[in-house]
């Protein structure tokens, strides 16, 4: 068999891999303060983003149809790399404060990015699993990065065990699929399925699809596969929590879109029905439980569960329109959540405390600008115009309504009313409550920069979302053809 190799197809991955390598070298040659490693990572990720933009419009399928570099991949590259970029930015000071000699933080982050990029550009189940696991195995240590915090380790452990458990389900599903179709190539699978007479009649296939759906649902934290999320998010260091909520979620959703929605579109009916319920239960549970949370990280963990539900609302319809709305939602969520966690990172103390609601009390007095930005992020999460979150919800719900899922849209809307309560909790803690005695430490430049990038995204997507909507649409089109 002729093996075609076109390195352009993995140019961004190569750049990130090279950065990983250089960073590792740098790590070896720097002192205990590792921010220079971070700077290298920043440069590398920046170059990765640049290359992705440069490659925009091309479509290259290479490595024996293992990798497809198309607009879909590129858009997700950019999304996860922006998340990575902001995460590195906000971690520059944080990492050195929390742990000494911790260059591996950046290395793991980069390798996780690399995994995500393979995940979203893969067109073979083998590569998908490879990317997924590279991403996950880099994240587990990051969750447990702060080695002296017991909660951090606990979160990592739970995440790991449950993650492996879910991976087993995913792999078993893939195995079942393989046992029927005899291939792991997505193009071939799509071709076979589209010509098969009665795809939903085959029990083994159905079980396989279900298990794959379950495996991915775990990664994006749909209820009831969500249970790891609050613990891992709360245990993880704040920048990593943001990164998980943004990038891991986005990449996993990319995989769902590619594998479950597009390739297995013959199974649209059962998948849509299952997703309808998953999404409804997820939106409800995530929002309801978040109401009583006192820890902001945990609250946002539940909120991120709910947001996964909203993304699924876009996917239920299974058409291009719905998928692009989901993509848009993920992009807007990426900006919003990384921005929020940038601010939480600033507030998180070295021992991992400082993220309770009471720690936000009176923030608007000590940090007026920071708190107004935080308020914008919260409003965006709540879906209030003129922020990215509103446009995202608008897009998602309109796709659902267009496809006739008005009931789901109304349900989603009602749950988002519940969500208002806890997002406002943060706003009112910042604005309406009096500050406790607090050392007024300066905001690190990295965090400021990260916050500004995120804020730009939130506002840009909220006020002039058209371009990004077009990009999302193009990316889905490139996936379909």
């Amino acid at each position: 068999m002729y093996v075609d190799v076109n390195y352009t197809a993995i140019l961004p991955q190569i750049i990130i891999a090279a950065t990983l390598f250089i960073s590792a070298m740098a790590d070896a040659f720097t002192s205990t303060r590792k921010w220079p490693v971070g700077m290298i990572a920043l440069l590398g990720i920046g170059a990765g983003i640049g290359s992705s933009i440069y490659l925009w419009g091309d479509k290259i399928i290479s490595f024996s149809q293992m990798i497809s570099m198309d607009e879909f991949s590129l858009l997700f590259f950019i999304t996860v790399m922006i998340a990575g970029f902001i995460t590195v930015l906000i971690s520059l000071k944080y990492v050195d404060d929390v742990e000494s000699d911790a260059g591996h933080f950046y290395l793991l982050l980069l390798s996780s990015l690399l995994g995500m990029m393979f995940l979203v550009s893969a067109t073979n189940l083998i590569v998908i699993v490879l990317g997924l696991e590279l991403m996950s195995f880099s994240i587990y240590p990051l969750v447990g990065f702060t080695r002296d915090r017991q909660v951090s380790l606990e979160g990592a452990m739970k995440y790991l065990v449950l993650g492996a458990f879910a991976t087993a389900f995913l792999l078993y599903g893939i195995a079942l699929l393989y046992s029927v179709l005899g291939t792991t190539n997505l193009y071939t699978i799509a071709k076979i399925l589209s010509t098969s007479q009665n795809p939903t009649g085959n029990m083994v296939m159905m079980a396989g699809v279900a298990l794959i759906l379950i495996g991915f649902s775990f990664k994006v934290a749909l209820v009831p596969f969500h249970a790891w999320t609050p613990d891992a998010y709360q245990g993880a260091p704040a920048p990593i929590t943001g990164f998980m909520a943004a990038a891991v979620k986005a990449a996993s959703f990319a995989a769902i879109i590619k594998v479950v929605i597009v390739v297995m579109s013959s199974y649209h009916v059962p998948v849509a029905e299952a997703m309808w319920w998953l999404s409804a239960v997820t939106m409800f549970t995530g929002n309801i439980i978040a109401v009583m949370q006192k820890n902001v990280k945990r609250m946002l963990a539940y909120s991120s569960i709910a947001h996964a539900g909203y993304v699924v609302v876009g996917l239920v319809s299974g058409n291009a329109y719905g998928m692009s709305s989901a993509v848009f939602y993920l992009i807007s969520y990426t900006f919003t959540i990384t921005g929020s966690f940038a601010i939480i990172t600033y507030l998180e103390k070295n021992d991992g405390t400082g993220t309770e609601l009471s720690d936000f009390s009176g923030l608007s007095k000590t940090h007026p600008v920071l708190s107004i930005i935080m308020a914008v992020f919260m409003l965006s999460l709540a879906g209030i115009p003129p922020t990215a979150g509103f446009m995202a919800k608008f897009y998602v719900f309109s796709s659902a309504i267009k496809s006739g899922y008005t009931g789901l849209a109304i349900f989603g809307i009602l749950t988002s009313v519940i969500s208002l309560y806890y997002y406002l909790r943060i706003v009112y803690a910042m604005y309406f409550e009096e500050p406790e005695e607090k050392a007024n430490m300066p905001v690190p430049a990295g965090i400021s920069a990260g916050v500004i990038i995120a804020l730009w995204g939130v506002i840009q997507l909220g006020i002039l979302p058209s371009d990004i909507m077009n990009l999302a649409m193009q990316s889905i089109q490139s996936l379909l053809h």
Binding site: M157, K158, V161, L162, F165, A166, F169, T200, M203, M206, A207, V209, A210, L211, L213, I214, S217, F218, V223, P224, F225, A227, W228, P230, D231, P270, E273, A274, L278, T285, I288, I289, A290, V291, M292, Q293, I418, Y421
Partner: protein
């Protein structure tokens, strides 16, 4: 005829109000009083001028209009700010500005030394403006503006001494009771408007309405008539909405004279006279007016018999006299009603001002049981008071005689014998209570407090001169409307000038011819009643020194208490309307329904959410094997769904 000077009748008092209201406190009391009076004098002069203009026109064309601007213009409705003077308006104008001017002058003396002097005159000017607007307006909506405006001034002036709780309460009561009447008035207005609009008449001008009234079905007219009359019962203190007027005596006495005797309270009568074109086509409504008027006349007179507060006696007397006027218009004798309105304005204003003079002399004492023997101490006041008392009693030759007689005659002639009887008895009671007042106040032994007795003094000229002028009017005012019966005796044809002057305005009811003899007997009867009343009063209160009254009060204790307590109507209203409404509002609507049910649902949904949150998060108990189980449950459900569907 269009005459732009008419608007100045309104503008001057308004100017007076603005000047006194905004900078009055800086002007000094003297200037304030004179500014107020002069503005009214100017209005009076213009009114006289307009009146003369009117007289110079042929009787059937006596109409002067003044269109100021279009006020409301919406959809099918066009309501102009347009003034109109016809004979009816002219009479009212002269009465209002004339009596009003005198009372302004009187007030300069009466209110002397009050610390809110300028506020008082500002209100008084505002009242003049509103009252004149009421009578001048050429359409019913604009009339309503004046109607409410006088209500407002009444409210403000009753509550003028707002630090007294009784005054504050009385003011509020007056306004709210009036509002109840206005509610009826408005509904009547709406019904009338919708009836006209549906016939393609888009203006509520009186003359336009009069011209097209026949388009509207009598049933509608009847309802409109009754509803408008509800408004009149509020404003003119008729049953069952009269309750505010006795309390209104908390206001300064000139206010009682001007607003609660001479002008504002007669607005209801004026309104019905103004709407006569409607009422003549709605005999049922007119019947209601007559019955309510008659009953009120008698009812209020009975209460007046036993009251001890000098102003309250006069207040009930006013209610009673207003009842007469409604009786008159109710039986279709619109001119007689307006005639009585005019004469009543003279003598009742005089009575109030006289009473004010007495009160002034006694340093504020109002209880007649603490008066007596004042005849010689304040002779001018006594003289004018007596003139007014004779007039109201219907002693022949004085103004009240002519007007009251024409009402009773008309009632009898139109076949309303029962109504006539009510009026007839009331005539007796009227003479009795007013002379009871005279005897208790001016005759007999002085029962005045020692302290007050030292200060008894006649009022200053600025107060007595208006009294004298009013006394003259009370005496001779009736001669503009001498019944033809009497006119014939002296060979005076068309002696009833008043009726003739107003005739073009009023759409006549079918004529009831009466024989001369019946007419004469009626007249003799009512004269007898008047003298009888005076005699009984003399007998009881002067000759027997009140002993029979005490005796009667003891032997008919129940009746006496009933009358003294005004039939317990206030208490009744309180118990069946006000208290339950308050209770329902506070305890049921607010504290139970609003807080528990409506808001409870809202907050309840929040609480349910929080409750669900606390329960659901318990699943997330930290034990990761529970998470695994959760995962498995989900996985098995999804699997089962896919495989078994």
């Amino acid at each position: 005829m269009e005459l732009n000077i008419v608007r100045y009748i309104l503008i001057f008092p308004l100017l007076g109000f603005l000047v006194n209201g905004f900078i009055g406190s800086k002007l000094g009391n003297k200037a304030v009083g004179w500014i107020a009076s002069i503005t009214v004098l100017l209005s009076l002069s213009i009114s006289v001028y307009v009146f003369i203009q009117l007289l110079s026109m042929p009787p059937d064309a006596r109409l002067i209009t003044d269109t100021v601007y279009t006020w409301i213009n919406s959809g099918s409705l066009t309501i102009d700010f347009k003034l109109m003077v016809d004979p009816l308006t002219a009479v009212m104008l002269l009465v209002v500005t004339g009596v009003g001017f005198l009372i302004h002058i009187y007030s300069i003396g009466y209110m002397h030394g009050d610390k809110s002097y300028s506020r008082f005159f500002a209100y008084l000017n505002l009242f003049m403006f509103s009252m004149l607007l009421l009578v001048l307006s050429s359409n019913i909506v604009l009339m309503f503006v004046g109607w409410e405006g006088v209500g407002l001034c009444s409210y403000l002036l009753i509550g003028f001494w707002y630090e007294k709780d009784s005054a504050a309460n009385a003011g509020k009561k007056a306004f709210i009771t009036n509002r109840i009447g206005d509610y009826g008035f408005l509904l009547g207005l709406f019904l009338l408007a919708s009836a006209f609009v549906s016939k393609g008449i888009f203006t509520l001008d009186f003359n336009t309405m009069a011209a097209h009234i026949s388009l509207i079905s009598p049933q509608v007219l009847t309802i409109v008539g009754i509803l408008l009359f509800v408004g009149a019962t509020g404003k003119s203190a008729q049953l069952p909405l009269y309750v505010w007027l006795p309390d209104a005596m908390e206001g300064p006495t000139p206010v009682s004279a001007l607003i609660h005797a001479a002008t504002m309270v007669t607005a209801g009568v004026y309104m019905i006279a103004r709407m006569n074109f409607l009422y003549v086509l709605a005999p049922t409504a007119l019947e209601v007016v007559a019955v309510v008027g008659g009953l009120t006349a008698l009812y209020a007179a009975t209460i007046g018999l036993v009251q001890n507060d000098i102003k309250r006696v006069l207040a009930y007397s006013t209610i009673s006299q207003l009842g007469y006027m409604f009786m008159a218009v109710g039986v279709g004798a619109f001119s007689a009603g307006i005639f009585h309105l005019m004469t009543h304005a003279f003598f009742k204003a005089l009575l109030f001002l006289g009473a004010g003079s007495v009160i002034h002399a006694l340093s504020g004492e109002q209880d007649m049981r603490k008066m007596g023997g004042l005849k010689n101490k304040i002779p001018v006041t006594f003289a004018v008071f007596l003139a007014a008392a004779l007039a109201i009693s219907g002693i022949p030759g004085l103004s009240g005689f002519f007007s009251k007689d024409s009402i009773l005659a008309a009632a009898y002639a139109s076949g309303h014998t029962v109504i006539w009887l009510l009026g007839f008895i009331t005539a007796l009671l009227t003479a009795f209570y007013i002379f009871r007042l005279i005897y208790m106040t001016f005759y007999g032994e002085s029962r005045v407090d020692k302290h007050a007795a030292e200060h008894i003094h006649e009022s200053p000229k600025v107060m007595t001169i208006p009294l004298i002028i009013l006394a003259v009017l009370s005496v001779i005012g009736g001669y503009v409307g001498v019944p033809q019966l009497l006119g014939n005796i002296v060979g005076w044809h068309n002696s009833d000038l008043f009726v003739n002057f107003l005739a073009p305005v009023f759409h006549t009811m079918p004529e009831h011819e009466m024989s001369v003899s019946t007419d004469s007997w009626l007249m003799i009867g009512s004269i007898t009643m008047a003298f009888l009343g005076v005699f009984f009063a003399w007998y009881v209160y002067l000759k027997e020194k009140m002993q029979p009254a005490k005796h009667a009060a003891e032997s008919f204790a129940g009746l006496y208490r009933l009358l003294l307590n005004k039939y317990y109507v206030d208490e009744l209203y309180n118990a069946i309307v006000i208290k339950p409404l308050m209770w329902i509002s506070e305890f049921f609507l607010w504290k139970i329904f609003d807080v528990w049910v409506v808001d409870g649902t809202v907050n309840g949904s929040a609480h349910v959410t929080q409750w669900a949150s606390t329960k659901l998060r318990k699943i997330q108990a930290g034990d990761f094997q529970v998470y695994v189980m959760l995962f498995l449950i989900g996985a098995i459900s999804v699997l089962a769904y896919f495989v078994l569907r």
